[in-house]
């Protein structure tokens, strides 16, 4: 059927009228329709498995909240976008804020992306709850007093905890150390923190090799050969992505894992890939804020682990916990602000104020946002063991430390803080 000119005109008029009508109604909807939350989750590249894990935590949180009636009766609606390069992710953040008009954005893992998103969240006046991305450059905060950005724990928490454990377990038992860390801010900062803490603990050591493979490298033969030649007593590595098992496999092939002490601050993020056949027992291994087999885990955490295992045939990692926490923290803040506002949906400024210092029950236990918008959580690390029902290593005993112990307090430089420790 051909559209006649008259029909076309009628259609256009109707469409214009509909659009105009929508414009009228929209503000009224905003208070009673769903709460729109933007999600930035990595879907490609080295970040993809971690991004997916964070998204699962967010989705699980949203589904549960919706099943229980939503936040103050409003359902959560997720608008999912991809985290990729800093530039593209910033564009998507703008799109979420301007076009989708989301109430808040959750997500982002990469520090590079975080550094770019921080100022944009302030500019767009949109709440951003980061999973793992910080806004630190080096170890210095680039936005000391943000209003809209709520950031993750510091990059170096894991290195600080692993270093304390290293000193506790092995002081006096090693002299030469080597570092192999991914070549970007995370790797460089963690290695520097490790050396500073060793010094603070009075451990005299000589660095025999410092290697910086590219993030996501798949060939470590040359690095492993260099390590074998340097013969360190201890190897420190903060690899966290799919390159971790590759490094370990090739290191094992060259006989490096037999007598060398290993400190893997963050390898627990890819724990299922750390197979027993090449990952030794007795290494220090960190799981960030969530250890899937912790005996003292809450009922909530156990329920999530069960759901995750049934649905994806995988044991969850820490990023789900970060994602989950951002959603329940947001809900807790809205409810807290609403109580002050007599039960009405609070204004954004009131939600921000309520987020400061908000505490919420996450998968790994109670977590909170500090008044300066930095997350507080508990970290889990331990000594690797082969005594389990899996084909990969787990840790026993599990040791935990809170960010009160391993994260620099508000407004203090990392190294000033470390130097002020009493050890």
């Amino acid at each position: 059927m051909r559209t006649t000119r008259r029909q076309f005109l009628t259609l256009t008029a109707a469409a214009t009228a509909a659009a105009a009508a929508r414009l009228d109604v929209a503000p009224a909807f905003a208070q009673s329709g769903p709460v729109k939350l933007g999600v930035l989750a990595a879907k490609a590249g080295v970040l993809a498995p971690v991004g997916e894990s964070g998204l699962r935590g967010v989705q699980w949180a949203a589904d549960r909240i919706n099943a229980a009636g939503g936040i103050l009766g409003r359902r959560i609606e997720l608008v999912i976008e991809e985290e990729s390069s800093p530039k593209d992710t910033v564009e998507r953040f703008r799109k979420l804020a301007l076009q989708d008009k989301v109430d808040a954005v959750t997500g982002a893992i990469s520090t590079g992306v975080g550094l770019a998103l921080g100022p944009v969240a302030e500019e767009m006046k949109t709440i951003w709850l980061s999973w793992d991305a910080t806004t630190q450059k080096g170890v210095e905060e680039t936005i000391p007093k943000p209003k809209y950005s709520f950031r993750s724990t510091d990059n170096e928490c894991e290195a600080v905890m692993a270093s304390i454990l290293t000193a506790r377990h092995w002081k006096g038992k090693f002299k030469t150390v080597a570092g192999i860390n991914p070549d970007y801010s995370y790797g460089r900062d963690n290695w520097a923190a490790f050396l500073a803490i060793m010094k603070k603990h009075g451990i005299e050591l000589s660095v025999v090799s410092e290697l910086w493979p590219k993030l996501g490298a798949t060939d470590f033969t040359a690095h492993v050969a260099a390590l074998a030649q340097a013969k360190p007593d201890l190897i420190f590595s903060c690899h966290w992505a799919g390159d971790t098992p590759i490094f370990l496999k090739q290191a094992h092939g060259a006989g490096l894992t037999r007598s060398t002490k290993l400190v893997l601050t963050t390898g627990g993020g890819v724990h299922e890939s750390l197979k027993k056949e090449f990952t030794p027992e007795g290494a220090i291994l960190g799981y960030n804020t969530f250890y899937f087999e912790h005996a003292k885990m809450s009922a909530l955490g156990k329920e999530f682990v069960r759901w995750h295992q049934e649905k994806f045939k995988e044991w969850p990692n820490y990023e789900s916990d970060h994602g989950y926490f951002t959603i329940v923290a947001y809900r807790a803040a809205v409810e807290r602000a609403a109580r002050a506002a007599g039960g009405k949906w609070p204004a954004q400024d009131a939600i921000i104020q309520a987020l400061e210092g908000v505490e919420a029950e996450s998968l790994s236990g109670s977590r909170r946002y500090r008044e300066d918008h930095i997350m507080e959580a508990t970290f889990f690390q331990g000594t690797t063991t082969h005594k389990n029902k899996h084909d990969f290593v787990t840790i026993d005993p599990v040791e935990s430390m809170t960010t009160k112990q391993i994260q620099k307090p508000s407004g203090v430089g990392l190294y000033d803080w470390i130097n002020g420790w009493k050890v």
């Binding site: 060939d219 098992p245 090739q250 092939g253 060259a254 006989g255 890939s273």
Partner: protein, 277 residues
Amino acid sequence: VLFLVAAGLQLVFGVQKILNLACGSFYALGAYAGVSAVAWALGHGLPAPLFVLPLLAGGLALAVVGPPLERLLRTIHDRDESFQLLLTFALVLMLEDVMRFVWGTAPVQLRGAYLVYGQVTVAGSTVPVYNLVVIAAGALIALGMGLLLTRTRFGRIVRATAENREMAAALGVDMRRVYRRVFTLGVALGTVGGALVIPATAAVNEMAIEVIVEAFAVVVIGGLGSMRGAAVGALIVGVLKAGAIATWPDVEMLAIYVVVIGVLVLRPAGLFAGATP
């Protein structure tokens, strides 16, 4: 292994004058196929030490993507190089998505194969025997390629085509068949390379891009279209990388490209330019 990928690139360029960026994707595809083939074979009761057989078979089987892709690339055969780069780069991206779709985003590992042959101590350092197997396989394939190109009828036709396409066609060589076979051979070199490397590492989505960059460094050093150049270039890049990491890790990438620039300045056509493929 780098030699295999670069050799595939050289072969295709030498004969068809197509600069094929997608060679890196064949490497990645071969890696994934190798994992799947070995996992399947071990699941069906194959004794572990024989794992190289399904590994190679998986790599070789993937060469079936050769003929259809060759058909696609034929459409841009005589166009400007920039079209070739665009199309083959598009292929890289598409194949990466195919891999993501089929094998997922998480790295895929091959279990229990790397150390099946044990380890040996060479000059004071421990080396898994499998690494030596890979080196031997690389040398054998290089030798085989040399024989194929210089001693067989097919090799003579390939070289004749590389030398002078029109003349070869005029003499009654079926260009389409030669192209199809050469391209498939190039693909097979890449996929077998990927399959060979996988027991020691893990297959990840972005491994294609990583290897393309290095393969190009190899090709620039060795000279476009030269098989001997590919072998020597791969050796130079490998040794430079290892040497840089052992002595001064920060210059790993720099060292390779300094040599690349040096070659470009002093011998713009590469060390083995002009040699037959």
